[in-house]
């Protein structure tokens, strides 16, 4: 799965560990601790025991009581440490992002001319115009309004090959901190200071802007609820024991309470969330909120805009089809000349194909040649010289230029070939020389490499993929088949896209959408999870709730996996935490009650050495389990696309059954160690 993942920051680097340990103590501040009610309860219990210890109010040996208090404090500190470590990793990543932001200067434009003045980037406001020239860093997120430039975006994507940014079209968005390496552009700033892309990315990985996700809130409520129920169970023990004339000392009750409440998951909960965001950034995806990542785990339907997501985005000429009586060479020659002046990717691909496959010799345009640019009105382009008029364009548009031949055999053949190509998913372009129909150029959308396998993987996760395109049914069907998507929507207008999303949502399904163009923006906003391609327009990037810096639509797989992993890690550790309680009961209950019902010694199934040792062992186990699960919390439980039943079986066996068994072994081992070291 981690196809895209960049090497992360090693988990236990010393320069991260030491500050984390320091922060763990700072986080003992009750105002910070309060945000985690379970750990707050643990802290209060530790405080109570410490006060009783100082006041000398409790029974049991002094050494035992001191150790009990120490281990209770350690439980809280371990939890704080887990959180601090996760935050520290994010901070380290943020630091490298900040370097890119360091000192940005802008050449602010005041009017249409080139007159500009240098201002610090943080003074730029949305709507300001700036000039960015070769070698300059782009000072703020914005939109190119004039010019074309190649831009190195390595600072945010890690990819050093430059990308083209140009005014108009779908590649107009530029990001602060990236460098223009050729030409110059005028950019309209679209973000207020401090709200830009880099700022958000930094805030996200640092955990500063982290808000609890809906499931995290629900889980916190569950943990608080369980804590209250166990508080009731423990608080009533002295009353119940009074019936048997039994006296239960406060330290024992404290030990019972802390081992029962779900400290393990509570201690690791926020570390799981922070680490998840950190992993997302390493996948080169920027999410605007954790909520979006969590929602990604629930996605049922993924809509993909065809162009630029499923296919490379440009159509390429793959074949020339001359009419009968026309030679291949003749058609290739004509296509070559007609496209020489055509600077679109399609035109360039025709020139390249004519030279490479059909051996047309490289020759410049005749001196008197005048190019006919493509217009939406004629839907034709070409070249005119004194004696030659070469045009290419949509088949019906070309036929309109020769109305007298509408019923000729050439026209019929042209239409037959064109229908054939359309059926195969290609786009036919007819070529006409003066008034003679020559043949058809076959242009084809090229599906990005590896799409089929990736879509199969999505299917395994239970996600249905739907391709959306403006193409006709035939073309769409053929590309859909080639790419291996489950369904497609052809001849789609932006309204159709919106309607499709609404319909799916009405049916109760969660919809994700990948898109890049301005016309995708409404759909990206309507979808539950909108992933904009970084190559796309600023409008698309604003509308989505995630931006994929690699512009790879199948990145959805990683995002879905990550969303699921976040939930699974929380669920599994919750199960583990609750399952642990069974063994802890068997350690502590006999230890507490054996004083007045000696028969209850039979319940001491682990044969722990003494009541004090049993209690201490349970508390030590409860504390040590937190740091030992930190790596799991930061890395996440493994997700495989195998279906929900199978996942549950696996996780239930590992964390449910394992959670029941592990503490029996752990507590026994600690009991032996405690006895061996003579701690009680």
């Amino acid at each position: 799965m981690p196809r895209h993942e960049q090497p992360g920051i090693s988990m236990f680097r010393r320069d991260l560990m030491l500050p984390a340990i320091g922060r763990a103590f700072v986080k003992l501040d009750p105002r910070l601790l309060w945000r985690n009610p379970v750990m707050f309860t643990t802290g209060m219990v530790a405080l109570l025991l410490t006060i009783l210890l100082v006041a000398g109010q409790a029974s049991g040996s002094l050494a035992f009581r001191i150790q009990l208090a120490i281990w209770l404090w350690l439980t809280v500190i371990f939890g704080n440490f887990a959180e601090a470590l996760a935050e520290g990793r994010g901070k380290a990543q943020a630091a490298s992002l900040r370097a890119a932001k360091a000192q940005l200067w802008a050449k602010a434009l005041s009017g249409a001319g080139d007159a500009c003045r240098k201002v610090p980037a943080e003074l730029l406001r949305a709507g300001d115009l700036v000039l960015v020239e070769t070698g300059d860093l782009i000072p703020a997120d914005g939109e190119v309004i004039e010019g074309v430039a190649s831009v190195n975006e390595a600072a945010i994507t890690g990819e050093s090959a430059p990308v083209i940014r140009e005014a108009g079209g779908d590649r107009s968005a530029v990001t602060a901190g990236t460098r223009v390496i050729s030409d110059s552009i005028r950019v309209r700033v679209t973000q207020e200071p401090g709200r830009g892309f880099l700022d958000r990315m930094i805030a996200l990985v640092e955990g500063a802007e982290r808000q609890k996700t809906p499931n995290e809130i629900a889980l916190t409520i569950l943990l608080v609820g369980l804590t209250i129920i166990f508080l009731i169970a423990v608080a009533t023990v002295p009353g119940l024991a009074f019936y048997a004339r039994g006296d239960v000392p406060v330290p024992l009750l404290a030990a019972l309470l802390v081992t029962l409440i779900p400290t393990t998951i509570a201690a690791l909960l926020s570390a799981i969330g922070i680490a998840g965001m950190d992993r997302l950034v390493r996948f080169n995806v920027l999410a605007k909120s954790g909520r979006a990542v969590e929602a990604a785990g629930d996605v049922d339907v993924l809509l993909l805009d065809k162009t630029g997501t499923v296919t490379i985005g440009d159509r390429h000429a793959t074949e020339f089809r001359p009419l009968s009586g026309v030679s291949e060479g003749e058609l290739a020659e004509a296509a070559y000349v007609a496209s020489l002046a055509d600077d679109t990717p399609e035109g360039r691909s025709i020139v390249a194909l004519a030279r490479e496959k059909y051996g047309v010799k490289e020759a410049p345009l005749p001196a008197d040649a005048e190019s006919i640019p493509f217009s939406a009105h004629t839907r034709l382009s070409g070249v005119r010289t004194a004696r030659l008029l070469l045009r290419k364009g949509a088949v019906d548009a070309v036929l309109k230029t020769v109305p007298e031949q509408t019923d000729s055999s050439a026209a019929t053949e042209l239409q037959r070939i064109s229908a054939e190509i359309a059926r195969s998913g290609g786009t036919p372009l007819a070529v006409v020389s003066n008034r003679r129909l020559l043949g058809i150029l076959h242009l084809k959308d090229v599906v990005k490499a590896g799409m089929r396998e990736r879509f199969a993987e999505l299917r395994g996760m239970g996600i249905r993929t739907i391709m959306i395109t403006g193409d006709n049914m035939l073309t769409a069907a053929s590309i859909a088949a080639e790419a291996g998507v489950d369904d497609f929507l052809a001849e789609a207008t932006p309204e159709d896209k919106l309607a499709l999303i609404r319909r799916e949502q009405q049916g109760g399904r969660l919809v994700a959408m990948c898109g890049d163009g301005t016309n995708d923006a409404p759909a990206l906003a309507q979808a539950d999870v909108g992933i904009a391609m970084n190559t796309g327009t600023q409008a698309a990037r604003e509308a989505g709730n995630m931006v994929d810096l690699d512009s790879d639509p199948t990145k959805m797989i990683e995002v879905v996996g990550l969303g699921k992993q976040l939930l699974m890690t929380r669920g599994s550790l919750t199960t583990f935490s609750i399952a642990n309680d069974v063994a802890k009961y068997f350690a502590i209950i006999p230890a507490i009650f054996v004083a007045f019902y000696p028969g209850l010694a039979m319940l001491n199934v682990m044969r722990l050495a003494s009541p004090q040792s049993a209690m201490l062992s349970a508390i030590i186990f409860n504390a040590l389990v937190i740091p030992s699960l930190v790596p799991l919390a930061l890395k996440g439980v493994k997700y495989r696309p195998v279906g929900a039943g199978e996942l549950l079986r696996r996780n239930l066996a590992l964390y449910g059954i394992g959670g029941i068994v592990a503490p029996f072994i752990g507590i026994k081992a600690i009991d032996l160690a405690v006895g061996g070291l003579g701690l009680v």
Binding site: P214, N215, I217, A218, L219, I221, L222, G225, I228, I229, F230, I232, A233, V234, T236, V237, G239, L240, F242, Y243, A244, L260, G297, D298, D300, M461, G462, I463, G507, G508, R509, L510, K564, L567, M568, G571, S572, T574, T575, I578, A579, D581, V582, Y585, I589, F593, Y597, G599, L600, M602, L603, G643, A644, G645, L648, R649, N651, L652, Y655, G656
Partner: protein, 567 residues
């Protein structure tokens, strides 16, 4: 003997499975407002009720209106029942001229019958007039049961409806359940019981001359009519103090079997009704299976322990199982089965003294009650109590498969988790809190007749039974005191209504949600894995909460028996 016992349990289980679907589809039809063959006869009665009460049967209530209607109805019922008892001397059908019971006793009984608990601090045949028994109490046997079923309907609608504002109409549910389910069933059932030998008369008593020539007064009354609804509505309040151990309430092995079956009938049927309402009967069978497993676990332990008997007596050369406190007519298996059934459901009828069970045999009824009586359960309350646990189970399971948890297409979010926990926290709080109070106060400690862990079990059982609205007693506890009447009355009240209100809030919140279709990524809640998870969560959450109290009661008791520290 042993083989015969297991066969009885097996046959009983099979019959429960057989009646589930017919009962369930009848319940579903009544819930959905469909016509039954009783409509020509009872339809006009139903409409007349609505006209008199000014109820618009087509008006849906939101959860708050539903809750207010239910609370107002219960409060009025409580006041009226209190008054009827206190004034029974002036009311008809009082052949033996009983005066009104003391205020604390009347209060306790009023709460007890309105909450479907039927805890009996009074002794029926020597305290209450026939009017009080056959009219005042029997009315609430019907109405409290109908209320429970109505509430289950409301929650089922919460799961089944999409983006709806209402969860049904309480008055309509109450009327329909009473008219089309409880009355006809109870009528036929009472006739069967009469045929089986249960008396049904308004006469006060019969006089007989015994063989020795002594004169004996045999108390009679309208027993069969009360008996039928006592079982069917999981009320459990018997005509006689000895309840279903009394030969007039439960004369033969056949009536005994029928009584047990009728306790489970509606509770089991509701699981099917739930599945049908959410559009997949397998969802209902999954719940049924989880309940059945919990039932079989309980009855197996209970019967095994009772059949094994007391090792100390074996040592003295007295062979055989534990027959103390059991009717010779029924024997060990039928008594262990009855005890498990009556506490799995919140019935509380007894055909043997649970107090005299072996320590672990008696632990089973206690645990059944403490888990919330959700194994088929009280009519209605069993299903909604179970679904609260299902919400918690699906939340944890959903997270473990990496998806926002959803159950039968409804997303389970923070609000549902919060409300479910609120409802689930009530029983431990009241049971453990009140038991603790009883354990440290003079008035509380005066209650149990036994000392040591067994005495503690008696207190724990009483409060568990009250909070769970079960009503069975461990016996051995003198509860007819102001302290226990008051505390147990409060416990019954909290146990019922403090659970119902959050439950209805969940119903309202679920009804408003849209339903998600089942996808490959969502976890199927129809398979054995789900059933196992449900059983596990219920046992662990319930078990962990009550373990300290159980250790101090029955477990310590059992270990004392083994170690022969007879106290």
């Amino acid at each position: 003997m042993i083989l015969q016992g297991w066969t009885l349990i097996l046959v009983f289980t099979l019959l429960v499975i057989l009646i589930t679907k017919p009962m369930g589809s009848w319940l579903f039809r009544v819930m959905a407002g469909g016509r039954t063959w009783l409509h020509p006869l009872l339809g006009p009665v139903e409409r007349a009720f609505y006209r008199i009460a000014g109820v618009d049967p087509d008006r849906d209530q939101g959860w708050k209106d539903y809750a207010v209607a239910m609370l107002a109805f219960s409060a009025a019922g409580m006041v009226l029942l209190y008054a009827q008892q206190r004034l029974q001397y002036y009311l008809p059908w009082n052949p033996r001229g009983f005066a009104g019971p003391a205020p604390h006793l009347a209060f306790n009984t009023a709460v007890s019958f309105v909450t479907n608990t039927n805890w009996q601090s009074y002794s029926g045949e020597s305290t209450l007039s026939n009017f009080t028994q056959a009219w005042a109490l029997a009315t609430h046997n019907f109405l409290s049961a109908a209320t429970g079923i109505a509430l289950a309907f409301a929650l089922i609608r919460g799961f089944a409806r999409r983006e709806a504002a209402g969860i049904g109409n309480f008055w309509v549910d109450l009327t329909r359940v009473t008219l089309y389910i409880l009355l006809p069933c109870a009528f036929v059932y009472a006739l069967v019981l009469i045929a089986g030998g249960v008396p049904q008369t308004l006469a006060g008593s019969a006089a007989a001359t015994t063989l020795e020539g002594a004169r004996q007064v045999i108390v009679l009354g309208p027993v069969a009519s009360q008996e039928a609804i006592k079982m069917l509505g999981t009320n459990g309040g018997g005509f006689f103090n000895a309840n279903s151990a009394h030969p007039f309430e439960n004369p033969t092995a056949w009536t005994d079997f029928l009584q047990m079956l009728s306790i489970f009938s509606i509770g089991a049927g509701l699981t099917w009704c739930f599945g049908r309402a959410v559009g997949n009967v397998r969802q209902g069978w999954a719940i049924f299976s989880a309940m059945l497993i919990l039932f079989l676990l309980g009855v197996a332990i209970c019967y095994w322990q009772e059949a094994a008997g007391n090792p100390n007596l074996h040592a003295l050369g007295i062979a055989g199982g534990n027959m103390e406190g059991k009717e010779a007519r029924f024997g060990i298996a039928a008594s262990a089965l009855f005890a498990t059934v009556t506490t799995d459901a919140s019935c509380g009828a007894v055909n043997a003294m649970h107090d005299s069970f072996t320590a672990l045999g008696g632990l089973v009824p206690l645990v059944d009650i403490q888990l919330g009586e959700i194994v088929f359960g009280g009519v209605g309350s069993g299903l909604y109590g179970f679904l609260l646990f299902a919400i918690l189970a699906i939340f944890i399971a959903g997270l473990m498969v990496g998806r926002s948890p959803e159950y039968v297409g409804k997303k389970i979010e923070a609000r549902e988790v919060k409300l479910a926990l609120l409802a689930i926290a009530v029983p431990p709080l009241v049971i453990l809190g009140f038991s603790a109070i009883a354990s440290v106060t003079r008035a509380g400690l005066a209650g149990p007749l036994n000392h040591g862990p067994h005495g503690f079990s008696e207190i724990l059982y009483a409060f568990s039974s009250a909070v769970g609205n079960n009503g069975s007693a461990f016996a051995g506890l003198n509860a007819a005191t102001p302290f226990y009447d008051g505390m147990l009355g409060a416990a019954m009240f909290f146990g019922r209504f403090f659970m119902i209100v959050p439950m209805l809030a969940i119903a309202g919140s679920l009804a408003a949600k849209r339903r998600t279709p089942e996808g490959a990524g969502s976890f199927p809640t129809t398979g054995p894995l789900w059933v196992g998870l449900l059983v596990g969560i219920i046992l662990i959450v319930g078990g962990l909460t009550f373990m300290p109290s159980l250790v101090l009661g029955p477990v310590a008791d059992q270990l004392a028996t083994i170690n022969a520290h007879l106290e």
